[in-house]
């Protein structure tokens, strides 16, 4: 629950999702999900593959409509929030438009908001700086490594200062070293922008390192199994060797074991 009367970022209220409802091939993806995410929080969804993490994220983002219950985002319906352009989204694959230069990719959401060219230029320069790609604005996505592309994708999602950032396994396709680097960058950016993040992963260490809270989902149909608070203070590279970090990871691992998921 929100403290001090402040508006929660996300309230998921009794949400259920059945795909292909009313046909022979019904899939119950989610059932009875209740969840409240505070503004400024970094929350991770973890669970075995197919347990409905992406579905839940897409419901919050109004890319899907729940078959039961409702989602509100900053006191508005998810639909109002999407049409009000409150969301930034990052997917597993950077999903850049390869006919646009890096700069133009970052400016895409700004174009859709009718920003002037000057403002767009200024903002994309700022964002390139934020993700440390200052020299690559005039490159095309294909000239960049996977990790760099994913950083552009994050810059694109943050360029218009969305109130809510939804990320679906954004680092899933990266190698371990790049991944850890990106996690550090993401936390730095999160600290600088103060946005709310809902992050999907199936990596235990990623969940432990990034989040304030970890939501463990159990499969078929997806339900909230447990919610684990992670309090590691300010993250640094040393955090990964901190006993508290291992303890958090162990708690998450045990929860995952009991729902039948492995790392």
């Amino acid at each position: 629950m929100s403290s001090g009367g402040e508006v929660p970022a996300v309230v998921v209220d009794g949400v259920g999702m059945v795909f292909n409802e009313g046909t022979g091939g019904e899939v119950a993806a989610l059932d009875g999900i209740d969840l409240t995410i505070r503004a400024g929080e970094f929350v991770t969804l973890i669970g075995p593959s197919g347990c409905g993490k992406s579905t839940l994220l897409r419901l919050i983002g109004d890319l899907l409509t729940p078959t039961a219950g409702g989602v509100s985002v900053f006191d508005k319906s998810a639909h109002e929030s999407r049409t009000g352009q409150d969301y930034g989204m990052v997917f597993q694959h950077a999903g850049l438009f390869d006919w646009r230069k890096v700069k133009a990719n970052i400016e895409l959401p700004l174009e859709l908001r009718d920003w002037s060219k000057t403002d767009r230029n200024a903002r994309s320069a700022e964002m390139l700086d934020l993700v440390k790609l200052d020299e690559f604005g005039d490159h095309y996505p294909r000239q960049l490594s996977g990790g760099m592309q994913q950083r552009v994708s994050i810059a694109r999602a943050l360029s218009f200062e969305p109130r809510l950032l939804l990320m679906d396994e954004p680092f899933g396709a990266l190698d371990e070293m790049t991944r850890e680097h990106m996690q550090g960058e993401l936390l730095r950016i999160w600290g600088e922008t103060g946005t709310t993040v809902v992050f999907v992963t199936h990596s235990i260490s990623e969940a432990a390192f990034l989040s304030n809270r970890v939501i463990v989902l159990s499969p078929r149909p997806g339900r909230v199994h447990s919610i684990i608070d992670v309090d590691l203070g300010e993250r640094t590279p040393d955090t990964r060797e901190d006993p508290d970090f291992f303890a958090a990871a162990t708690t998450i691992r045990e929860a995952l074991r009991s729902v039948g998921g492995a790392e």
């Binding site: 999407r82 009000g84 989204m89 997917f91 438009f97 959401p109 859709l112």
Partner: protein, 294 residues
Amino acid sequence: MIPARTATATKVIRTVVTTALAILVIVVLWEGYKWMGQQTGGNWPGTGIELPVSTDDIIMPHAADIAAELVSDIRDGRSTLPLSVFLLKKAWFTLQEAAIGFFLGSAIGIGLAVLMLRWRVAERGLLPWINVSQTVPLIALAPIIVTWGRNQGMPDIVSISLISTYLTFFPVAVSALRGLQSPDSAHVELMRSYAAPWRTTLFKLRLPAARPYLFPAFKIAATLSVVGAIVGEISIGTKTGLGRAILEFALRYAVWPERLYASVIGAAALGLFVFGMISMAERLVLRRTDEVVA
């Protein structure tokens, strides 16, 4: 990296060399086949089975004679000029009809694709008809269009362009639809997450993503537009154009086959020319993303 200008020069040289080689190969095969046929009296070597194409000088004139025909003089109205120049003049006329047909057909093709993309019902309703349209023989359709056009008081060049349009819209419509549907769901969802209206998604995502699908279709359409214009000219009985030249030379084929072959070469050259123009446009438009792989 190779500097861009050197790369372009290399490409031009390569194209010229391959074209020359291709022509050489065709000439060698042509003359070789002809020579073989004349050695065996028109049969497959060592058998009594007849060759599929007769090798006499009417059916297959010597390549050199065809080439000589291209530089020999022909009367055009009151003046006399080499056949190649004559064909070039006629081709210029045909090119204009083909160009109208190409641009009109491409616009209609893209328009239909957008309609089919927007309304699935339209796709289900239109696509079969678009396919059926191409099974109507052009020879049957051309007189209908021409007669209709004359009744409407349209100049013949418009009717011919319409016949050309009829051929060109088809490959463009089919490829454009595929191209417009090509963005993966992540891209479409991204636009949805921005609450981008359908039109914006069309212009910012689907149309740019369709370009690699469109250019191959444009190349086919450009070649077809020439075919359409020539067939249109023949069936309409215009006074000028490549089609007219081909028709005249065809009537005198039995006595002067080299001329017909020369005019066919002219038609092929025109087809290659428009194909080349589209290829160049493609390179200009798509280069930005292609050549940059570091």
